[in-house]
């Protein structure tokens, strides 16, 4: 996993609440055997027309939002099924930061496993940010993860809350596996002890 770097990036606005994982990656793509390439399937049913050309009505297709790295989206983002394809798609599309007033639990946890920073803001903060993107489509926000700061050209600036362990893991590019492997000596000790105490577990497989 890439370490999360402070950055300044275009913000795409999706003024919708309760966007579920079924919309993020529709069911028909779940049978794939690779975790890469889900970016093109993201929001498939909204994003493309019948003939699979871009739907000009869909907000992420607005030319001003091209290349966006930050997604500003409504309440309860990522609800519905626990599919991990949703964060895979978001990361593959190019977003590494999401800003919302709330997230579904499993989705929120899955973001950190994929190097995505989900920032939680208050409704008032969200409204201010939305207003700025609506007035200046294509505007770029700046994120400083170390300082937990979000800054906009319009002069909005605030600190967001974040679990410190998760923050460190994002900054260091540690996924859950890397974190567990930091305890590798404990795992090895455990295995050595088990081999002595419950030897059949190691003989009979």
């Amino acid at each position: 996993m890439e370490p999360y770097k402070n950055h300044t990036s275009v913000v795409a606005l999706m003024n919708r609440a309760n966007v579920d994982t079924d919309q993020i990656v529709p069911k028909q793509f779940l049978k794939r055997v690779s975790r890469q390439g889900f970016g093109e399937t993201m929001f498939f049913d909204w994003r493309y027309l019948e003939d699979e050309s871009d739907n000009p009505e869909f907000e992420l297709n607005r030319p001003e939002f091209k290349g966006a790295g930050i997604l500003l989206v409504g309440d309860n983002f990522g609800c519905g099924s626990s599919r991990e394809h949703a964060p895979w798609a978001i990361e593959d599309y190019g977003f590494n930061t999401i800003i919302s007033t709330s997230y579904a639990d499993i989705f929120y946890a899955n973001c950190f496993k994929n190097g995505i920073l989900p920032i939680t803001v208050t409704q008032e903060q969200w409204d201010v940010l939305r207003a700025e993107v609506e007035r200046f489509p294509g505007v770029q926000f700046s994120v400083d993860l170390e300082q937990q700061m979000l800054e906009t050209p319009g002069g909005t600036e605030f600190k967001f809350d974040l679990d410190q362990v998760r923050k460190r893991n994002l900054l260091e590019g540690l996924d859950d596996i890397a974190v567990s492997l930091q305890a590798e000596s404990h795992i090895t000790d455990f295995e050595e002890r088990q081999k002595k105490e419950l030897p059949w577990l190691w003989h009979s497989a």
Binding site: R35, Q164, I177, E184, P199, W200, A205
Partner: protein
Amino acid sequence: MSSPKTMYEKIWDSHLVHEAEGQTPLIYVDRHLMHEVTSPQAFEGLKLAERKLRNPHAILATLDHCVPTANRSLPVADPIANTQIVTMMDNCKEHGLTLYDMDSEHNGIIHVVVPEHGFVHPGMVTVCGDSHTATHGAFGALAFGIGTSDVEHVLATSTLPRQKSKTLLVEVDGELNKHSTAKDIALAVIGKIGTAGGNGHVIEFAGSAITSLTMEGRMTLCNMAIEAGAPAGLIAPDEKTYAFLEGKEYAPKGDDWDKAMSYWKSLPSDDGAKYDTIVKLKAEDIEPQVTWGTSPEQVIGVNTPIPGPSDFDSEGKSKACESALEYMGLEPGTKLSDLKIDFVFLGSCTNSRLEDFRSAAAIAKGTKVPEHVRAIAVPGSVLIKKQAEEEGLDKIFTEAGWEWREPGCSMCLAMNGDELKAGQRCASTSNRNFEGRQGKGGRTHLVSPAMAAAAAGAGTFVDIRQL
């Protein structure tokens, strides 16, 4: 003296690898079961991150979810299924894993073949990218389903970060009616506590009606713990457990066996151990169960009329009733014996073991599936299929007008082409009656194998106690 512990706490304590400040406890995973659907991205993730697979010996894999139950030669007709199957075969080969592929005489549904070979023992922590992993709790193993990123985690580390669960004791005492089965206990428990009743808990099943169950019955019961919201079910190991395991391919041998036995005997919950919640049922009260709705908790005894929204005191439940009735095409007050069925499915990791086929065959014998009904019997494994054929059970089914199929998950999740058409009503021995689970618009009623066989013969639901 240390305070009395539940079986869950004993297994938890003995698998705690590390507990660091501010982080989720890390627990050790002894056995890892795999199938073709939830593993490919885990292997890919491992490769992308250039990580090694830690313990190949701890893994047993099979092909089951999308294998056809008619023609089993490769390539299978559905290209996506074929890709999943081939990817699994490649991954297992690359990492030197044991795979029961479609040519193997050990092939079958993961939760059926694993016990057949004694791969999971009492006291083990076992995981699989599949929610019905709870099945192996029948052996007194802590077994639960995980997502794809956790599959990758276990491949790389043989551990999982995990919060400790609460404990729920479900005690079923007394003697079951002659025609009620482990499946009926499972459905009755879910009917009582609801599909969220076990959320955040590991269920321990205990009581005289549970110890009386065969190992097959215990597997059926633990299999459905997840339908009660619990990640895992547990039953204390006893003489039946040991007798089942003894001599199996992966069971401990010789000196190891004696050591294992003395360890296994220390596992059952101590007297006076505390549970967070306790639920009690009387076995005598459990009638043959039939689900009427689109959630396993929407279940009734076979002679109870179908409920209506006003029968529920919470708004949520009466709303759920209303929409389930609509989807299922049912009116409140209807008798189950007045419903016409179109399909019968005997199979799935809940009910596709030899005992299930025997009990269904005993009812199917001499009956005739009506013209408008299709009934399929899908054994859980190649081995079960063979044993059933040796006993002549296949003949009983085919003479009654059933289709006798090759093993696999089949219509449990309808991924392999076996599926219901919209509006078709099915008596099914599987575990989920969710909307569309057995095919878009399909209407599933969950029942025991004997009840399924009786329904196949009559074209409707019948009370097997009256046959």
